[in-house]
Each structure stands twice: as C-alpha cells, then as structure tokens.
Amino acid sequence: MITAISWRNIWRNPTRSLVIIIAVALGLTAGIFSVALMNGMTEQKMRTAIENQTSHIQLHHPEFSVNKDIKLHLNNKAEIEKILEDNPAIKGFSSRTVAGGMLASSRGSVGVQLNGINPEKEKQVTAIWQNMIEGDYFEGDSRKPILISQKTAEKLEVKLRSKLVVTLQDSEGEIVGAAFRVSGIFKTTSTTFDETQVFIPKKALQDLLQLPAEIHEIALVLNDLEQVPIIKEELQKELGESVKIEDWKEVLPELAYLSDATVQTNVLFLAIILVALAFGILNTMLMSVFERVKEIGVLMAVGMNKLRIFSMIVIETVFLSVSGSLIGVLVGVALIKWTSQEGISLSMFAEGLASWGVSDVIYPTLSAGFYIILMFMVLITALLASIYPARKALSLNPAEALHGLNN
C-alpha cells in the first residue's frame, strides 16, 4: 500500500512533478548524449590509431622501443613469420623496416619516419591504402615510389610525381640518400600521424640502410580485438624473450590512458549533472513534505511508524527520479541510435579534431554497461536527495503536525 500511496502522491500536484521529471529527463538526455559523443570521439581516435599505426599487436627486438637503433632488427624473422602464419586467430601481419630520416624537396625539408613495407601485406593490417586522396597505393610503374600525406605535400610544396630526396643514416653510420617520386598522397584523420609518417617499398629502404632482408617490426591484426591478451601471451610463450611483444595499449600507452580517462570523465560529468538534479528533486520533495505536514501528523497519530513514513518519502523520491531518468535514457538512446547511423558533422572544428586524431564526423556510441552504471547512479542520487525531506517528515511532532504546525 505504501508503494501505491507514494506513486499516487507524486501525481497530487502533476504540474510540479512533471516539471521535475522533465528536468531530470532533459538533464540525463543531454548528459548521455554528451558522453556518447565523447565516447564516439575516443573510440574513433583509438580505431584510427589501431588501423593506421599500432595494429593489434607489434613485435620488435626487445630494445628497439627504447632505442630506435636500426641495428636492433628482428633476428629470427622466418621462424616468427611461420608461427604467425600458423596461428588461426591472426587475420594478417606485415613485416616492416623502419628508420628515421629527412625528406626534402626543392622548397623545404621535414623529419619523418620512413616505413618500408610490403604493400600487399600492409593492406591486411593498416588502412593507409583506403585513405589515398591522390595517385595510387604502389600500383603504378614508378621505380622508387613514396607515399606521403597531404600535410607533408603542403609543407614541402610538392604534388603527385614530384621528386623527393630521402636522407638517413645507414647501418654503418654513413649518411646516405636517394630520390623517390611521389606516387600517392594520403590523408588520415590524424594530423600527427600524417605529419610524421611516409611509406616506401621495404626493399628500397633495406637497400638504403644496407640491411638486406632485415625487418624491425611486425604488425599483426587478429580476427577479434578481445583476444589480444590471450594471443599476446601465446606468442610470448612460443617466441621467447628474444622478441618483445606489445599490444596496442603498450605501443601507444596514451591511448589506453585516454580510454580510462574518458570513462572516468564521463562518470564525473554525469555525477555533476546528477548532483544538480538532486537539488531540484530535493526542493520538490521538501515542498511536498511541507504541504502535507498535517497529513503526516495524521499518519503518525493513527499508527504509521517512522520507518514507514521514511520509506514513503524515499519511494516518492525514487519514483520521481526514476520516471525522469527512464524518459531521459529512452530519449538519449533514440538520439544516439539516430545520430550513430549518419554521424554528426563537426566540420567547423575539423582542424582541431584532426590534430587530435579524429575526423570531423563523429558517431556517438555508448555501451549497455554504461546505462546500468547510470541507473545505479540515479538510484543513489534519489536516495541521497530523499534523506533530508524524509528526515524533515520524521522530525514532525504529531500533536503539532495535526494542527498544521511544523518545527
């Protein structure tokens, strides 16, 4: 009966209840949508980084990540590649030779990381071939092709088929150089990546470095991202300590921090919204209690104990909060579903977003688990917001309350 009384009590003043229900609903819709937008950006940044840079897992010489010395190449290449080929969980892998160097045109020069790749194998692990905006992905007949980003092309003031000179230090410590011709220009969503990475055929780079057939890095992609920890452990057992195996989080730790920080920021952001809403709910419930002083006095007089009165006020508060929250969540889910199909264009912030590694079209997304956390937070908020009004109700003296007085 107390539940029924509580539910009916909140509709005694429908306007007041609707106002707070709508406020809660709007607050949560806005909160959920903002969080989904943030999640969409973070996920996109992570996906872009995995697709273009890290892949799921990378293999290096144990000291290569600390000291990018080109002499620290993988020694047992053939054995490693055989193990990777035999593992059914691995979708594809690409062996790379990498080195830092200088890229120069007649108009300027930039420092870059040169990635010597096998174009066909690279297609299995990165999406550079899908990001070509001019030219082609090593498909022409150019003898020394180089893929550069649009940003680099602008900096060096070059275009398709322009000549670029690559200068670097070979394995003997000698400065060597070679001319390449721009065969393709790419553009990813990450400005940082675009400004620092160029791609040439693996053989060309190995020749320049005087490291015939040597590789520094193997990037691999699994059929299922969730399997990364298991496969990483499996490979470590098979390959031993001579190979350092890192997952994408270890290759780019800032990405892992970003993922964790986003969850924490989202929870904090929603907590702030809920605290603000809690004061609205508290105000509504206080008004409701003060309007019913005499009625509460009657309930006390006829034998309703304090626990039941306390429960009645708490249940009313929970009903108010949960009704608003459910509406807010439903609207939020609908909004996310709607916008996640086409994405939201933030083209006016394109440059800023690109420097952060995100495209100007964001696809909001939110996991089911977050809604559970959210409803739990709403429940806690409602319970906290109900304590003061409920205590006010309990502090009434029945004899005084019966005459409409409150202390």
Binding site: N9, V298, A301, V302, P398, A399, L402
Partner: protein, 233 residues
C-alpha cells in the same frame, strides 16, 4: 471497568521562556462503554487533554494510564504501536488520505497492523456498510460529502478494533443533517458494540447526546456531569 485513568496531569508549554499552563492538574477516569463529551471554551485545554489521552503529546507532570499502561513512559516507537492497537482517531476535518479510496483508507490501518489481506478486505467492507457507505466504497474523499467523509473516518477508527475512539470536534464541519446522522451512528456503535467514545466539542448537539459531560476551564476539570441515559437518548 476503567480504561483510562488520568492522575494529576499538568502540561506546560515553553517552560523556560514564556510558560503556558495548558493543563493544571487534571484527574479523570473513563470507563468502558462511555459516551463522553469534553467541553470548554477555546484555550481551556481540551485539545491538549485529548492529545495526552491519545498519546500524541507527553505530560509535564502526572500520568495517563490506558488499559493498565502508563503511556507517558512509553518510547515514541512503542507509543506509535500502542496508538495503532488501542486508539481510534476521528478528526475535525476528517483527515482521510486523499489519494486512497474510502475502502483503501479503512484497509490501510489494518495493513499497518499486519493483518491478512482477506481479513482486512472483508472487515473494511463490513465497516463501510455499517456506516452506510456500502455503495461509495471505491470513491476517493474528494468525491464524498463532508458527512460521508466523516463516516469513513469513523470506519477507519473502528478498523483497528481500538479500546476507545477519540474524536476531536467531529461535527465542527458538518451540517445539521450530517451531524445528526453521524451522532446516531456513533450512538448505535456505542450501544451495540460497547465502543467507548470521547469527544472534544463545542457543539451543543453533541453535548446533548453525551452521557457524560466533562467541562474543562483553565486546564482544570470544572464540572463532570453524568447525564441520565434516557435524557441522552
């Protein structure tokens, strides 16, 4: 058999600042089956006395013994339970829960007592029929007249099977027809079920029906008159 014994009852409000002596040594005994009116001018202390008898307020001095229990010594928690089991309340403005129907208002008290569903449903219907509202059970208070609401209040007060019913100015908001009907109903309950009624009232129509009239003036019993039964009829 005496169900209420009041001895040397004093109540002082604001004892430290501006003391107001609401009750100044009341001694009173009420026996089972009485139909008693407590009368007196405004501010005489009759509502305070009713609050003390109902265990809603505690005395500054003296004792209120109901059914052998000194209610002034009970903790607030025990007092609520005591009220629920022993005392039925009827208020001047009916004080029904507006969100519940007549039936639910009566059932609610029995639910608080923890009675079984079949039992409280059956008793609520019986009581509402007894007070003449068999056809208005599912109406909310806002759809009932003042007289009908007060009948529901009486049914609610009876629902807990109390030892006595305290009625604070029960007819103050009723027209003469409703007052007459209500008093007649209460007299029947008093006579047939030996239910004890204690009223505080200004209403001469109620005083005329009472079998005992206790007059309170300045917080003291000024007069205590036993009316001849025939006259009260």
């Amino acid at each position: 058999m005496s169900i209420i014994q009041i001895k040397g009852l004093h109540k002082i409000y604001n004892p430290k600042k501006v003391p107001v002596h609401a009750l100044n040594g009341i001694d009173l005994e009420i026996t089972e089956g009485e139909f008693t009116a407590i009368v007196g001018p405004s501010g005489s202390g009759k509502s305070t006395l009713l609050n003390m008898i109902g265990g809603l307020d505690s005395p500054t001095e003296g004792t209120v013994i109901i059914n052998g229990v000194d209610v002034s010594t009970l903790s607030p928690k025990k007092l609520i339970d005591f009220r629920l089991k022993n005392i039925g309340f009827v208020f001047q403005d009916y004080s029904l829960l507006p969100v519940l129907t007549a039936r639910e208002n009566v059932e609610f008290i029995m639910q608080l007592q923890g009675r079984k569903k079949e039992e409280f449903k059956k008793r609520a219907e019986e009581l509402l029929r007894e007070v003449g509202l068999g056809d208005r059970m599912d109406n909310r208070p806002s759809n009932l007249s003042g007289g009908q609401q007060q009948r529901v209040a009486v049914a609610r007060a009876l629902a807990s099977k109390p030892k006595f019913i305290l009625a604070d100015e029960p007819t103050a908001n009723l027209d003469s027809v409703s007052t007459s009907d209500l008093l007649e109903m209460m007299q029947v309950l008093n006579k047939e079920e030996n239910m004890t009624f204690i009223f505080s009232t200004h209403d001469q129509r109620v005083i005329d029906k009472a079998r005992r009239v206790v007059s309170i003036v300045d917080g003291k019993v000024a007069e205590d008159i036993q009316v001849e039964q025939e006259m009260a009829q």
